[in-house]
Symmetry: C2
Subunit: 277 residues, 2 copies
């Protein structure tokens, strides 16, 4: 496994002719969720590149950029075990030099859901991913479905900008009690860890209601809301959307997906699930 | 020469391995300015691709999108003579399908100069050029210096987004009396054609003043302004900028360039020149 720390060095990597290159962008502090993406890439690609970059452009001014967990040595050991071929680890100064000026915005779907409480977030995500794709030049990129809006925004960016890359969404990896794996779970203190399972419980309950024939989105959302409030979570949003374009759904159908964002203590957690069992 | 009318067809073009691909993006209605870019590409590349696309996204609501001159058959004949290899001629519907959402913005330098009277123009230019680059996949792109701000914005976009393409600015091609070649010169009626040379005259006078030792930008600009007003031109702006970043200059030096935009009758004309003789 080769560690690449500069943009010119990564661009200069000569992949074997006709090699299929798979790419997993991460912010490091890797957990089983990330490693499942690396596995998916390793299985389907000849070369797997993983980037580790805590992207300042996707954090709001009052968010946790400074305290976002980092452990590069541990990440390297995990990636070595996972058979990644390259780890790209650029500096923020090189990715965004002082006179940096260019931003990519996917309109509409960047402004809803998480975009309401995080207005610049998806602009930062779209821009950094486009930069990384241009530097790494993969045929496929692997992303978790946990940030379902992020996946949708990036797939839309790739389609609109005529990128050659295929963006592949991979299933959410969960703890045994259902909590979606996240680097931010680290912030959960004491009883909050147990309370945080309320997102999963609300999603499972919604899926069960839909399977039992309930079609009214507002009824399913009301039940999910109760589960979250009973666990002291502060709800940001609970929405049922059409998974294809994130538009809100009144009547549940096969494309319906519930998306939740809520604060449990300090961390803001997100989770989602298809309502088709 | 091959004519390619769809995005998938252009993306599927298999260039010979290690071929150097040069690209000239145009809006058609080709004149010697465009053809000089094709020549530059043909000289330095193995394959030359020319796109013809009147990009709706770079026209303002009150601008001349509908009446912009078009003559595809004539363009084809000129490109055939110029030894272009591919002409890419996509439709607006395929480039911007109804639910198109993704835009690239180069901040600051898109907002000044022409960006003041054309606030969305460079967003449209940046976006379409990024799309075209992703579709055509050239190593080099050739652009005229006539729209010097456009050239600067796109070079900055390429740098910021870590694009592999090299963007090469080529000298302005002029009529015998100095008027910069432009598809919009067609709109000049009667005496306006003669009056339109005032941009060139003002630039030449500015260069002469600088060569004679005048360093005060405001004095050079005042003299240029007089020349434009004497020819009934309606000035949009006359600026002396640092050619490297388009910042305004008080004291002329080797990097100084004068940029002019002015209406002569209906058409809004632009021109520019280095003040270093």
């Amino acid at each position: 496994m080769q560690i690449v720390r500069s943009i010119p060095q990564m661009r200069a990597v000569n992949y074997p002719v006709a090699a299929k290159v798979g790419f997993v962008p991460t912010m490091g502090y890797l957990h089983e969720g990330h490693l499942s993406l690396v596995d998916a890439s390793v299985k389907s690609s000849d070369i797997t590149v993983v980037s580790i970059f805590v992207n300042p452009a996707q954090f709001g001014p009052s968010e946790d950029l400074g305290s976002y967990p980092r452990d590069f040595e541990r990440d390297l050991a995990l990636l070595e075990e996972s058979n990644a071929d390259y780890v790209f680890f650029p500096s923020a100064e090189e990715m965004y030099p002082p006179d940096y000026k260019t931003w990519v915005q996917v309109e509409d779907i960047s402004r809803i859901l998480c975009g309401i409480s995080r207005p610049e977030h998806f602009k930062g995500v779209s821009t950094v991913v486009l930069k990384l794709l241009n530097i790494v030049r993969p045929q496929s990129m692997y992303m978790g479905e946990k940030d379902f809006q992020q996946l949708t925004v990036l797939q839309r960016m790739a389609q609109d900008l005529n990128l050659a890359v295929k963006i592949i969404g991979c299933p959410i990896v969960r703890e045994e009690d259902g909590l979606a794996k996240s680097s931010r779970n680290l912030y959960l203190q004491g009883i909050q860890r147990e309370q945080a399972t309320c997102l999963y419980k609300a999603l499972m309950n919604s899926q069960k209601m839909a399977a039992a024939g309930e079609q009214a989105a507002d009824k399913i959302i009301a039940a999910a809301q109760k589960i979250l409030l009973d666990s002291q979570a502060k709800v940001d949003y609970i929405k049922i959307v059409d998974a294809r374009d994130l538009s809100e759904t009144d009547k549940v159908d096969e494309y319906s997906r519930m998306l939740i964002a809520a604060w449990v203590g300090k961390p803001r957690l997100i989770d989602n699930m298809s309502l088709k069992a």
